[in-house]
């Protein structure tokens, strides 16, 4: 019940908690907590019913349709198939011959908005590095909606959805937020309706460096684990109080914003996104999750996932990875260029992520490199299957796969038309739609967003 009451509104988006189910049983609590106090105000923009014909379609679920047809309108995918698919009356028809169509790219790891451009000191809003455990902070409260990086990710990278995470200075960095890549005046105006929250956790070098250098805990990896476990113990105790209250009523327990978030994880409503590089540390975090009864959704960076890909497959944990980053810190020293295909090949969930305002513009090229490296190591993976690394898998990791992440009838019409094979360095998005609204057209300078920050600056409205 606690779970239902506490987090129901997460699942229905901005809809206010309705009904009085909680009051129906005797002793039910008199106070209900609003689990969605900063609700999404995103509304899709209008778009014509559109048909793209003759393109090669990667549907994001691992399927390919040559000479494909995609129909979308009213914000959703209406039909996907071959040349036999009919054009609805009045639809705008686009010739996709020689082009490719995919669902919009999804990045599970971004700091856009929290570490925006320009990267001035006053814009460093991604790490609340004042305590190793800060699950009470929410990334959305740092998101600057005028970050010029959003538009770059859209027009150069075909990114239609991304998760903004707090940084990794802390063991518990705070809540993440999933955003639609649609310019808005507020962070709420970008929030992906109905997307569950995530919790950023971190293992390894960063927390122990940040706090160890201040002479406080954690200073070591064992300190990392001890501090994290101690925090989970508090969360368990907190959850017991609330469960009891929600069951029996009585005096409302004192609220704690930090433990609210952790309780949400223990209840299964908030997805854990765990920054972790080394295989041995991932194994420790898996045991910790079992100890406290939660699940790790995705290991982020996961540079050594290839060493334990079998374990990750067994546990059903995704890895969000770079194609070829290595060695920029000790815990990334064992990076290999086949990491992504090795994880995929083991049957585990592989995701290409950016963690970078430049990298997010070329995730499709990163996937291409990883795929080619995998094939050279005799892993037979098709292009269309590799596209799941950018679509289905990140959508699942974010808990939004029922809404986007593949070109399936009824899902959000988040669509990219590419001017060539999307695994080529020569290729760029030609048009991008979010919920069926065309937000970028390479042939139309009017369809090019310009952030507030860039108005009146050199290069305003330029190609980027």
């Amino acid at each position: 019940m606690a779970r239902g009451v506490y987090f129901a509104s997460l699942l229905v988006g901005a809809v206010a908690l309705s009904g009085c189910a909680a009051f129906e049983s005797k002793g039910a609590p008199p106070v209900r907590i609003n689990a969605d106090p900063y609700p999404s105000t995103y509304e899709r923009y209008p778009g014509a019913v559109t048909v793209i014909r003759g393109a090669t379609v990667f549907d994001g679920d691992g399927n390919r349709i040559d000479n494909g047809t995609l129909v979308f309108g009213d914000g959703v995918i209406q039909a996907v198939g071959g040349p036999e698919v009919a054009t609805p009356a009045g639809a705008v028809e686009i010739d996709g011959t020689g082009k490719w169509v995919t669902p919009g790219v999804i990045d599970v790891h971004s700091h856009l908005g929290d570490y925006p451009s320009p990267g001035t000191a006053s814009h460093q809003d991604g790490n609340e590095a004042t305590s190793p455990a800060r699950p009470e902070v929410w990334a959305e409260h740092s998101v600057w909606p005028h970050d010029p990086g959003f538009a770059r990710a859209l027009i150069n990278g075909g990114v239609t959805t991304f998760q903004v995470l707090p940084g990794s200075a802390n063991l518990f960095g705070g809540r993440s937020v999933t955003l639609k890549n649609v310019p808005a005046r507020t962070a709420q105006g970008m929030k992906f309706p109905g997307a569950p929250y995530g919790l950023k956790m971190a293992c390894g070098e960063n927390p122990k460096r940040v706090y160890g250098s201040k002479g406080s805990m954690p200073q070591t990896r064992m300190g990392n684990i001890a501090y994290t476990r101690a925090t989970w113990l508090k969360a368990q105790q907190y959850k017991r109080k609330w469960d009891k209250y929600n069951r029996n009523g009585g005096e409302m327990p004192e609220r704690d914003l930090a433990l609210d978030t952790l309780m949400g994880v223990l209840a299964g409503d908030i997805i854990v996104h765990n920054h972790c590089y080394r295989a041995d540390e991932m194994a420790q975090m898996i045991d910790m999750a079992k100890e406290f009864g939660y699940k790790v959704g995705t290991f982020h960076h996961a540079v050594e996932s290839y060493k334990i890909a079998d374990m990750l497959a067994r546990e059903g944990i995704c890895s969000a990875m770079w194609a070829d980053w290595y060695g920029f810190k000790m815990e990334s020293y064992d990076g290999v260029k086949e990491n992504i295909p090795l994880v995929h090949n083991s049957g585990a969930c592989a995701i290409v992520h950016s963690d970078d305002a430049n990298g997010i513009q070329r995730l499709y090229q990163e996937a291409a490199k990883a795929l080619a490296d995998g094939r050279r190591a005799s892993m037979n993976i098709s292009d269309e299957v590799a596209w799941t690394w950018l679509a289905r898998n990140p959508a699942r990791a974010l808990g939004i796969y029922d809404k986007t992440g593949s070109l399936v009838v009824g899902k959000m019409a988040d669509v990219v038309l590419w001017n060539g094979h999307p695994f080529s360095t020569y290729t760029r998005p030609e048009r991008v739609w979010v919920d069926g609204a065309q937000l970028f057209d390479a042939n139309n300078p009017e369809k090019r967003p310009v952030s507030d920050f860039e108005l009146g600056q050199p290069g305003e409205g330029d190609v980027k």
Partner: protein, 505 residues
């Protein structure tokens, strides 16, 4: 000798009369003739281009005569790729490349590159390759920037570690040379940069002390105490102090004999003692140590290149203006995000640019006009542009340069964007950076006489999905394994075996 070198290209290109080809073999049969044709392939090479003649004893151990045939050959000089081309290599140098049809002496090794691409090795335009094993927070693993008492005199050479894992990773991806600059630690003057190769041996230095590197944009302002004005004042003062010391440096008369050892005391090694004797008098108000001031003498005299990092349009113009005050400066601009807005000025000044290619974010107030079309627009204005990676994983990810170059080609297909042709893009990561620092006659292209840094790729090298399959440096085939390839082998298959993973190698 010079005549022969000139003659060689026409000798070797396809369609030439057979007697010319015969001439080649005539030469080939006479070892002494050939040896004299080929410049000295020594691995260390001073700041001034002094090419000695070949001395047998110094030839690379494994250098040989061989040819690569059947592949798509791109010369790296800006021209477009040539299908079914050939590259002929002798004693560490390129003899001929391109649309060549040549009979080879019996027994010559011929590598079949059918279906492959063949290019010069990638020349990393601006890097810190070889200076760091690991970047972040690991004592002893990062040697990029010094915070000690010295500045311009700091020499990157003793910091380069040819056994760094970063070098093997980049070698395996076709990066054969790199321009390596120190990072600025405590002064706008970071120190003396070098050109290195990535060969699997202990002699990485191609050209020591080729240029000092100086920060004159936002980073320079910070290092100078908080303003660009201060940075420029420091710069001018430093050259003034160098000017004082230059009175004690034997002058180099233009048009006179080649300089000998005594004429080049500073450029050979700024840390040598010649200029620091107590009888070398200096003003009382000096800011630089004698070492630092002496290191800038060759810059002042135009005997060394000066690499300057600037991004903002006004900073670019301020640096170009320095040439009015110090006419001998051989400037090279690095970074140059807003270069397109003043491209005509840069072109007019004839100053080469080593640009960061895909910077399109206003990451700071000195990069507001950032666009990926920057390089294409500068190129259209006639600027000599190459690609570098300043502050962009510049200790380790030089293999990304070919992907960056490919993106510039991609831009040329997008309305409103300005990209570059394929051949130009390849040149920007091969011959153009070499030319920017006056080494185009040595490295960066497959023109006859160049060092035989050659890569055979699985496909179009500007596609990220292509890989280097064979890499030659100075004509010596290089190993392509690395920690990464060994880790892959160890963990390619995970099922438990008779012994732990640690026994697999």
């Amino acid at each position: 000798v010079r005549g022969l070198l000139k003659f060689l290209p026409s000798l070797c290109w396809g369609g030439e009369p057979a007697k010319l080809v015969e001439g080649f073999f005539l030469a080939a049969r006479n070892p002494s003739t050939i040896l004299r044709m080929v410049p000295l392939p020594t691995k260390t090479w001073g700041g001034i281009a002094v090419l000695g003649l070949l001395v047998l004893a110094t030839a690379p151990a494994a250098a040989e005569t061989f040819a690569i045939s059947g592949g798509t050959v791109a010369l790296g000089d800006g021209s477009e790729p040539i299908p079914n081309g050939m590259v002929v290599i002798r004693d560490g140098r390129v003899v001929a490349a391109g649309d060549v049809r040549m009979k080879l002496p019996a027994g010559t090794r011929v590598i079949d590159a059918t279906g492959k691409w063949v290019t010069p090795g990638i020349v990393a335009g601006f890097s810190r390759l070889g200076l760091a094993e690991i970047d972040l927070g690991d004592d002893g693993a990062d040697d990029t920037s010094a915070k000690g008492p010295f500045s311009a005199a700091i020499d990157v050479v003793p910091a380069v570690n040819p056994m760094a894992s970063t070098i093997s990773v980049n070698r395996a991806d076709g990066v054969t040379r790199a321009i390596v600059a120190p990072g600025a630690g405590s002064s706008i003057f970071a120190g003396q940069g070098a050109v290195i190769d990535t060969g699997a041996d202990m002699r990485p230095i191609t050209a020591a002390r080729r240029f000092p590197f100086v920060e004159l944009g936002e980073a320079g302002a910070d290092l100078a105490g908080g303003s660009r004005s201060s940075a420029h004042a420091l710069f001018r003062n430093a050259l003034r102090e160098a000017g004082e010391l230059s009175r004690y440096t034997p002058s180099l008369q233009s048009g006179s004999r080649e300089p000998d050892e005594r004429d080049r005391p500073v450029i050979r090694n700024p840390n040598e003692s010649r200029l620091y004797r107590s009888d070398v008098r200096r003003s009382d108000d000096v800011l630089l140590t004698r070492f630092d001031a002496a290191a800038l003498v060759p810059v002042l005299q135009g005997r060394q290149y000066l690499l300057v990092h600037v991004e903002r349009a006004s900073d670019i113009l301020a640096v170009l203006d320095l040439k009015k005050e110090f006419p001998n400066l051989k400037l090279v601009l690095v970074g140059v995000t807003e270069g397109w807005t003043v491209a005509n000025d840069i072109a007019r000044a004839g100053v080469p640019v080593i640009a960061s290619p895909l910077n399109d974010l206003p990451g700071s107030f000195e990069r507001l006009a950032a666009t990926q079309s920057n390089i294409g627009r500068m190129r259209q204005a006639g600027v000599r542009v190459s690609i570098g990676m300043i502050n962009d994983d510049d200790t380790r990810n030089q293999f990304l340069e070919r992907q960056y170059a490919g993106n510039l080609v991609g831009l040329s297909r997008l309305p409103g964007n300005t990209g570059v042709r394929w051949g130009e893009a390849l040149a920007m990561i091969t011959s153009a950076p070499a030319k920017a620092i006056g080494m185009g006659s040595e490295i960066g292209s497959l023109a006859p006489g160049r060092r035989a840094d050659v890569v055979i790729w699985s496909g179009d090298p500007l596609e990220g999905s292509s890989a280097a399959e064979q890499v030659f440096i100075d004509g010596v085939e290089q190993p392509l394994d690395s920690r990464q390839t060994k880790l892959l082998q160890r963990y390619r298959y995970l099922p438990r075996r008779e012994l732990p993973e640690a026994y697999r190698r």
